[in-house]
Amino acid sequence: MSNVSGKAYALTTLIPIRNDHIGEVAYADIVRSRLENWNMLPNSPMAKVPETYLCRFYLIDDVYIESQPSGTGPDNWADFLPVTPNALRHAVLPKHDRLQSRYLVFSSELHGDRDTYLRGMWLAISEELKDVFGFCYGFDEVHNADDFVAYMKKCQLNVALFFNGSNDDPLEEQLKALYVKQEFSRFVVENQGLPTAELRKKFLTFIGRVAPTNVQFPSWTAGQYSLPKVQDKQQEAAL
């Protein structure tokens, strides 16, 4: 099934939003506004959802048609006629589609099994989800993790091609590896040229501090977007 690439999973959901309003604000605009507010928080609520590599929310208000003058199949048939009848010319122009509802799109790249992920998502941020998804059809009947999983399955679309340009490790391992890369890069630079015995000692201390096999700690946190300053690191190393 092409939702997976190894242990990485590509979850695509389109959740229809109710066509209703509060005052003069449409439900869909409220959804958008509440999601915009997530951008103002110290970090995304999704940082609390385990095994999330990357994810996004956006709204499909309607489908677009981009009318370009380049030729496609039916157009080319018209090329063979010395005169293009108006009816044919109109017929080959793209038709104008309209959606009946507006959709919230939630797309996530994650590690592991979909149901476990969705359950974890509910357990971590059910309040934030109700705050946003509450305006979507049928979400008022979602009361627990199982309901949420079932609901999202109904909204899920299958992926035709999932391109994995990275790896499929558990998120904890990815974060730990990034932390180790950062620390070891610093180590090799700081300890260049040392005599072997001393280097070796320093290396053992380094391994003790950084603990590469301990996936939990120390490590980067999910969603971490700033680094401790160099001086802090030096103080930390001195401890």
Binding site: I30, F57, S166
Partner: protein
């Protein structure tokens, strides 16, 4: 609204396909999966964390509640999602210069697709069909896709090195340490906050950080909702 989270950019594109040619796209995707060398160019570019293509049949928009009206569409739709590193321009340009045939292969059956060369019509095609991301989350904003891949490699090598050298002589330790560094010589790049992606994005980022400091104290209200639920 933000298409950017640290070093990653979220691109969302939606384009119509004739329902009777949608199957051809599916075949092409299937071929790409079965014969990964077709994606050689994409992998070499190394700019992408994860990307996906989704085809929604014109009758396949999720219908989950009796109150929800059914969709009535002429076309099926292709959704494209990408998480990539760099700016929009760099990404689209890289695709056009490096793998124009690949691009055409995936998009050719979309309505009025402009072909990937020359560049400006292709830029416009993507821009007109791109939807802004409202909220984008990246678990490692400080890391590009290259960093994530090289981190895995480095950690594996480091653990193996540590295990192999606990009991050896100093000379052997040094020899293997040198080999470790040599093997990782392309994996030591620093990771820091990203370069600015564009002036507008930089301005939004500055305002955002200012607002974050304010929002710490007060909860930012949503659009004035008349009745609170």
């Amino acid at each position: 609204m933000s298409n950017i989270a640290g070093k990653a950019y979220a691109m969302n594109v939606i384009t119509p396909i004739r329902w009777y040619t949608a199957w051809m796209n599916k075949v092409i995707f299937w071929v790409a999966l079965k014969f990964p060398s077709t994606l050689n160019g994409l992998l070499t570019l190394s700019l992408i964390h994860y990307a996906r293509w989704v085809i929604i049949g014109r009758n396949q928009f999720p219908h989950i509640h009796p109150d929800q009206p059914k969709e009535n569409l002429n076309y099926s739709y292709m959704l494209f999602f990408s998480n990539f590193n760099g700016s929009w321009d760099q990404y689209v340009d890289s695709f056009t210069f490096a793998i124009p045939t690949g691009l055409d292969m995936f998009w050719k059956w979309n309505i009025r697709y402009s072909r990937s060369v020359p560049l400006t019509p292709f830029h416009k095609y993507i821009q007109y069909n791109q939807i802004e991301t409202t909220h984008y989350y990246n678990a490692y904003p400080l890391a590009a896709s290259n960093d994530v891949k090289s981190a895995k490699k480095l950690r594996t090598a480091l653990i193996a090195f540590d295990n192999a050298t606990r009991e050896v002589s100093d000379d052997e330790f040094q020899k293997q340490y040198n080999a470790l560094l040599r093997g990782l010589q392309h994996d030591f790049g620093d990771m820091r906050p990203t370069p600015i992606v564009s002036m507008s994005a930089a301005q939004v980022e500055k305002r955002h950080r200012r607002d974050l400091r304010k929002a710490q104290q007060e909860k930012v209200p949503a659009i004035q909702e008349v009745d609170d639920e």
